[in-house]
């Protein structure tokens, strides 16, 4: 089976902000994604770990495969949120099969 190259988008965001991230994906025409939980982390503003009652600071990691054009559109759409909402965005080249899905 033939593989083609697509983009894998990873976005790290606080749980309560995820719906807004998903809305930005939809704006860029990306309708498939999966969210994975995070346990702990550290950065410039200190460290956190999951044992928090309030989900306000618990991060989640969004994982989405999309075409290069849509990934570009997303970078533009989400840029204003990156700093104000403290998101982390990383894009990787991946090989997939059934590339027309993305």
């Amino acid at each position: 089976m033939q593989t083609v190259t697509r983009k894998k988008i990873e976005i790290l965001a606080d749980g309560p902000l995820m719906p807004r991230v998903v809305a930005a994906l939809a704006e860029a025409g990306i309708h498939g994604h999966t969210v994975v939980p995070a346990l702990s982390g550290s950065g410039r503003t200190g460290q956190w770990s999951e044992e928090r009652l309030t989900g306000a600071e618990t991060k989640q990691l969004l994982w989405s495969i999309a075409s290069a054009e849509r990934a570009d559109a997303l970078v533009q759409a989400i840029a204003p949120l990156l700093t104000s909402h403290r998101l982390l965005l990383a894009i990787t080249d991946v090989e997939v099969v059934r590339g027309d899905r993305f």
Partner: protein, 319 residues
């Protein structure tokens, strides 16, 4: 009462949690369990409130307490905001976010106070659970108004729906109000079959929950980089001011001693569940490190150990 407080197992478990957290022990209660305990406590407190109103009917005191609670939740963020900007040296957004936390209320402070006051023979009427639910949200609206005053309403326009939704349909409000209604509809007889779980188990579960709260509060303080001395001092002054105002107003309105004490305890308490989630959504530029460290790391332990007996004593003096 402080001596009594300090030998109650509920408080001792909280102190154990604080100590373990500060000693950096790896003791931890899984997040799912903590959420499960919180859901249990909210359902239990709501049911109890509903049953007690079903028993006693709607009294004038209920209406007075509810109106006072809503007004205080809406208005107390204003002086808090002013203090946070001037003494606390916070920018507008962060000051507004913190002020919203101090206007709103803490469920666990309420539950713990309920038990400690009961131990002193002060029976808080069940309807205060409904007052608690009513006081959660006005402060959020006040805080957002403070944050946005004089600003051209930027990206905030879009998520407005999401926010109102978060404010009025957030899980803890829905569960508290819902269980209250269930208690009201089913009444004492209807609730009898489920009473063993919700009444008998109550205090033991609260011990485990406060153990976790102690761990969380200690870790929050150790993990933060955002807390200044000034903010630390405000995290003790704000509950003192708000609590005294609450008890005074309660007494002036003629509420009985336990009710006035509880109104003060509620106004003194600061939210760390509903409001942080709402702020993260509505004011994402505000630093969670500031508002969580203040409300959860300092004000919550202060209220549990010092505030509750203090405001109870004040209500006694005034009552």
């Amino acid at each position: 009462m402080i001596a009594d407080t300090l030998t109650s197992p509920i408080i001792l478990f909280f102190i154990l949690g604080l100590a373990a957290g500060f000693a950096r022990s790896d003791l931890a209660i899984p997040e799912a369990i903590a959420k499960g305990l919180a859901i249990y406590l909210m359902a239990a407190i709501g049911l109890k409130g509903g049953v007690s109103v079903a028993e006693s009917g709607y009294t004038a005191d209920l209406g007075v307490s509810a109106a006072a609670g809503i007004a205080l939740s809406f208005l107390l963020p204003l002086p808090a905001f002013w203090l946070l900007r001037s003494l606390g040296r916070l920018d507008r957004t962060n000051a507004a976010a913190v002020a919203a936390h101090y206007g709103s209320v803490s469920l666990v402070t309420f539950i713990t106070a309920n038990e400690l006051l009961k131990g002193e023979g002060l029976l808080v009427p069940g309807y205060m659970a409904a007052v608690l639910a009513l006081m959660e949200t006005p402060a959020i609206i006040a805080g957002l108004a403070l944050a946005r005053r004089g600003r051209p309403q930027p990206a905030v326009a879009t998520p407005g729906g999401g926010l109102l939704h978060e404010v009025f349909l957030n899980g803890s409000v829905v569960l508290l109000v819902g269980s209250f209604l269930i208690g009201l509809i089913a009444g004492k007889a209807g609730i009898a079959p489920v009473a063993p779980v919700f009444e008998v188990g109550y205090k033991g579960i609260l011990c485990l929950f406060l153990l976790d709260m102690g761990l969380i509060a200690a870790r929050r303080l150790l993990g933060t980089r955002a807390l200044t001395m000034r903010l630390g001092a405000l995290a003790i002054s704000l509950p003192l001011i708000n609590g005294v105002v609450g008890v005074l107003i309660g007494s002036m309105l003629g509420l009985d001693q336990p009710t006035a004490a509880m109104l003060g305890i509620l106004t003194a308490s600061a939210s760390y569940i509903a409001v942080p989630a709402a702020m993260r959504l509505a004011l994402p530029e505000a630093d969670p490190g500031i508002y969580l460290s203040m409300s959860l790391g300092i004000t919550f332990p202060f209220n549990i150990v010092v505030g509750i007996p203090l405001f109870a004593a004040l209500a006694r003096v005034l009552g």
